[in-house]
Amino acid sequence: MVHALDEIHRVLVTGGNLVDLRPLLDRWPIEVSSNGENREVGRATDLPEPLNDDGAANQAMVLAEQRGWFVRERQDVFPFFYYWDTPREMQEYIDETWNDVIQVEDGLWSSLRSSWATANADARVRIRLKMMITSLHKQNLF
């Protein structure tokens, strides 16, 4: 990761911007969304390896700043939602796409199906990712 930041530093003009945009694992809430209201049913479980990857990426950024490659300007976190029409579609997606990132317990799937089935006809299910965005600018190292 530090090598990638070194490369980005090389190809950016002095004063150029680096924007780091990525999700952070944080036991993402799983919700039923219906009639403009959202109800949390439970939270996904973070798997250890990607959780370690988040930490390693954060450390690489700190190292790049310590080496004087970049100066951090601002940082925010914001929600990013994935929506599905049914719990089954959500489960299929998570099993296929995020099976090495998060785990959802069987009991939570059961609760989600119940909550969705008893909600209004417009009910959808969603997962709320925690996104982090950071802006840095390239330093001139002389």
Binding site: A4, V11, V19, L21, P23, F78, Y83, E92, M131
Partner: protein
């Protein structure tokens, strides 16, 4: 299986707040199928999207609007060996890629 991502367009709003793309040379690392690229490409000067996944890059190329063909390029490349000259870009985006 239908999934809808970020219908609130929160990501796009934050991205626009964090960088002024107007006329800029942009490198997007981890561009995937171009989902993020299309949120800022029209205002940028030139965009180069790189990714390691050829299938995603094919989707991005197919989805590229005809009026952006000269402005937005996609290439298969690794972030630890960027195939570009020194100081080629004004903005670099690490797009969900760490």
């Amino acid at each position: 299986m239908t999934v809808q991502t970020d219908p609130e367009r929160t990501e796009s709003k934050y991205l626009q707040r964090y960088a002024d793309f107007t006329g800029k040379r942009v490198l997007e690392i981890g561009c995937g199928d171009g989902r993020l690229t299309w949120q800022y490409a029209t205002s940028a000067g030139r965009v180069t999207g790189i990714d390691l996944h050829g299938d995603d890059l094919r989707v991005a190329t197919i989805d590229r609007p005809s009026d952006l063909e000269q402005q937005v390029l996609f290439a298969r490349a690794d972030s630890i060996h960027l195939p570009f000259h020194k100081e080629s870009f004004d903005i670099a985006i690490l797009a969900w890629s760490f």
